[in-house]
């Protein structure tokens, strides 16, 4: 007798089913009725729109009431029993018109089969998928059972509330929702009967705890499990050499600097110990753990802050590109200016500029601004440079870059600096050496082209940035626009190469797209084409300090020296024998961008190599050590 299917049984039509054919009609009808019901809300009058409304003794016709109650069921899951005893469950969608009471369900399924009375529900075996629209004509309808129906305002409110409660309050929901039902937070109080074990509470607080707890040891003792953990597999190996202490100090300094930076972010400030909003009445929840809400909390404007924070982070990590660029240009300029009558360098620069110009805006970098700045900026610059390097992403050359930083400084002290710098350079140089393989072309050229130390240094930063783009790729150098053969590592090339490398990098890729300063940096970032060789940076000579600066020197100096007379003048003595060697690292800023920016660049990170360099009073010298230790194997992106 189950002719209750989606297909309307013929007799339904006879019944005027047509009227309720299709949910739509029924729905519409119901809708219109509902609407009339709605308009009647609160009014106890018989609605005239309801056809066939009977005159009832009560103010509201009984039909209206029925309609109203049926409407209250819309969307609820109901069970409908039909004549044969079968029961269907589905979502109440609509009821028929006034004459007969039929029902339309959505997603209906049979849950009790009247044919097998007394048997357990048919849920045991599902024979067909739920019916999208299920019509039950009045002739079949016995009863509709609905639970937990809200029929009055109280009920509606109640329903709304429980609906909300059922929603999972995930962070994004909280952020986006305008109104979130807030819970009253109560402080947590531990149970009384929980045993207090004070000795357990501080066991790990003291990092210098004399009885250090070694998890591996413990594990082995307790379970006989031998660990195969090797920290160096996951991070840069720290090379502890003679400069460890200096590097550590420098690293700490940089870390302090960063940690002491101002931030708008509430949580970041908290972490850093600065109490920026101490006086504002920010409750604990906001201070430590709340989800950002778009409704103007104390850390309102978080969104902007978020961006700021992010940018800050990025800047902290990678340096403000604009800043860097400025620095670079500045340094460059300074170098230039300080060189005074070193026209050649200037011209050299100009040359490069021109060259780079051909490529793009790269030239701007070099030629722009010649403000007089003091080298005190070096420090920040170096950091910036570091950032740059980081940005460049793991190009060894970056190291060179870093090394270079100090150069300008050295440059300032023509003579003394020279001698002093030389040895420093030496150290710095080591880094470079490591890279020589790839970077060389860059650095050399770079150096050479610069002509003077300062210049080079400037150039280096720039170049480095550039080089970041094209880590150790000769091509990049070429792209610089310099006709010189970048590939060759010999110094002769350097001049040409450097020139090319310098501007080349920047202009090549994104230069065009970016504005002056920024562009210099960004292009690098974009241009960074992963050089498979670069990655596998197992500095050939890296083994120890890349003391093979000589090799690098070869790149840089000779040509440099010749090419740029002032170079000699440069305290650093670029290209001048040993000093040159020292210089080398400096010269190479552009050389291989760090292969893995992250690893490479994190002055405050475990990248001791970098720090080490710094320790040498070179702001950004991590290169030398860094190179060798870089466990590049992991870094094969």
């Amino acid at each position: 007798m189950m002719n209750l299917q989606q297909v309307m049984p013929p007799k339904s039509t006879a019944n005027g089913f047509g009227r309720r054919r299709g949910e739509r009609e029924g729905g519409t009808r119901l809708e219109s009725k509902s609407q009339s019901g709605k308009s009647n809300s609160g009014r106890v009058t018989t609605t005239g729109s309801v056809i066939g409304s009977k005159s009832g003794s009560c103010a509201v016709s009984s039909h209206d009431k029925l309609l109203y109650l049926a409407s209250c069921l819309i969307g609820l899951s109901v069970e409908v029993q039909v004549k044969g005893g079968s029961v269907y469950a589905g979502i109440f969608h609509a009821t028929s018109d006034e004459k007969d009471f039929g029902v339309i369900l959505k997603m209906a399924r049979l849950i009790k089969d009247g044919n097998f009375r007394g048997q357990k529900t048919v849920a045991e075996f599902v024979s067909k998928p739920p019916s999208k629209n299920f019509i039950i004509p009045s002739s079949e309808l016995v009863q509709v059972i609905a639970k937990d129906v809200a029929v009055t305002r109280d009920g509606f409110a109640n329903e709304l509330q429980s609906d909300k409660q059922r929603e999972l309050m995930i962070d994004s929901l909280i952020s986006q929702t305008r109104h979130v039902e807030e819970r009253e937070l109560e402080p947590w109080i531990p149970d009384e009967d929980v045993p207090q074990l004070p000795e357990l509470e501080n066991i790990f607080d003291d990092p210098w705890n004399s009885k250090k707890w070694d998890q591996f040891e413990t594990n082995e003792t307790l379970f006989g499990v031998k660990t195969t953990f090797n920290e160096e597999l996951y991070t840069t190996k720290l090379l502890r050499g003679p400069q460890t202490e200096e590097l550590e100090k420098e690293a700490a300094r940089i870390a302090r600097e960063i940690a002491g930076e101002d931030t708008q972010d509430l949580h970041l400030a908290e972490e850093r110990g600065s109490s920026i909003h101490e006086n504002l009445g920010i409750d604990e929840e906001t201070r430590f753990s709340s989800v950002y809400r778009g409704t103007g909390f104390d850390d309102s404007g978080y969104e902007e802050d978020e961006d700021i924070v992010l940018n800050t982070h990025n800047n902290e990590t990678f340096g403000d590109s604009s800043g860097s660029v400025d620095q670079i240009s500045t340094d460059f300029a300074i170098a230039k200016s300080s060189d005074g009558g070193q026209l050649s360098s200037s011209s050299f620069i100009v040359d490069e500029a021109q060259t780079s110009q051909s490529d793009g805006t790269g030239a701007d970098l070099y030629c722009s601004e010649i403000p007089s700045r003091n080298f005190s900026t070096l420090d920040s610059e170096s950091r910036v440079q570091e950032n740059l390097l980081g940005e460049c992403g793991g190009n060894n050359d970056a190291k060179d870059f870093v090394e270079k930083q100090p150069l300008p400084e050295d440059a300032q002290l023509p003579k003394s600096g020279d001698s002093q710098s030389s040895p420093n350079r030496e150290k710095a140089g080591t880094i470079k050496v490591g890279r020589s393989a790839n970077a060389t072309p860059y650095s050399t050229s770079h150096v050479l082209s610069k002509g003077n130390e300062k210049t080079s240094s400037h150039g280096e930063p720039v170049d480095v940035a550039a080089s970041c783009k094209a880590p150790g790729e000769p091509q990049s150098v070429n792209s610089r626009g310099r006709p010189g053969s970048s590939a060759s590592s010999n110094s002769d090339r350097a001049a040409a190469t450097s020139a090319s490398s310098g501007p080349g990098l920047s202009p090549s890729s994104s230069m065009g797209s970016l504005s002056s300063e920024k562009s210099t940096l960004n292009p690098y970032a974009k241009e960074f084409k992963l050089n498979p060789n670069a990655k596998s940076f197992t500095p050939s000579q890296a083994s120890a300090r890349p003391l093979s600066p000589v090799a690098d020197n070869a790149f840089y100096h000779p040509p440099n020296v010749s090419a740029v007379p002032h170079m000699h003048g440069l305290p650093v003595g670029f290209g001048m024998g040993p000093s040159l060697a020292a210089q080398q690292p400096v010269i190479y800023p552009q050389i291989a961008p760090m292969q893995s920016p992250q690893t490479y660049y994190h002055p405050h990170g475990p990248q001791y190599g970098q720090q080490m360099l710094v320790g040498q009073s070179r702001p950004v010298f991590y290169l030398p050590n860094y190179q060798p230790e870089m466990p590049y194997k992991g870094r094969d992106y």
């Binding site: 009560c58 009984s62 979502i91 006034e98 599902v126 067909k128 029929v151 009920g155």
Partner: protein
């Protein structure tokens, strides 16, 4: 108002407390909320109390086998508090339909309970869907009747293994549970 129930509409006056037996064997108590003579539909709220949420029955009076009058009380429905928010209702319906559709995806059609149980167990940890009577895991591994580890096919070796393992485990668990439940 035809049918067994005699006469006057009083019996079905709003507010009446009744105990009703239907021709199909249902028995329940409730209070009359409304009675529509034209359609012969009786709306009863179960229980004798009115709260914000109530259990409601819409009963076709034709199927009332027997009833007894328990008392008379006020109209359980206060018209002053009644109003319909159509949009909310429609939204509720849409949501319910969406959920039901999602649920329907999880029910296998024409599969045994056992198969459905296995499906449900697998779905706790793996993304599964039905493809007729085949359980498709992670869109690559297929488990067909009789849903034994041997019936697992497809996918990468790793995925296949994983599904087999999970299947075995779940089967064991179901067995254990089934037997413990007698």
């Amino acid at each position: 108002m035809e049918g067994q129930v005699g006469g006057s509409g009083e019996e079905f006056a709003v507010g009446c407390l009744l105990s009703i037996k239907t021709t199909l064997g249902d028995e329940f108590d409730g209070q009359v909320m409304a009675f529509d003579r034209f359609t012969n539909m009786l709306v009863i709220q179960e229980g004798l109390k009115s709260g914000p949420r109530r259990n409601i029955r819409l009963l076709n009076a034709n199927y009332i086998k027997d009833f007894s009058f328990l008392g008379q009380a006020d109209d359980p429905l206060d018209p002053k508090k009644c109003f319909l928010d159509l949009s909310r209702l429609q939204a509720r319906e849409h949501l319910a339909v969406r959920q039901a559709e999602a649920d329907a995806q999880r029910i296998g059609v024409g599969v045994t309970t056992e198969a459905q149980n296995i499906f449900d167990a697998l779905s706790k940890t793996l993304p599964v869907r039905w493809d007729k009577t085949v359980i498709v895991v992670m869109n690559e591994v297929r488990v067909s009747s009789p849903y034994l580890p041997e019936s697992v096919s497809g996918g990468t070796a790793a995925a296949n293994e994983r599904v087999k393992k999970v299947l075995e485990f779940e089967r064991k668990r179901l067995q254990a549970r089934g037997s413990s439940q007698g």
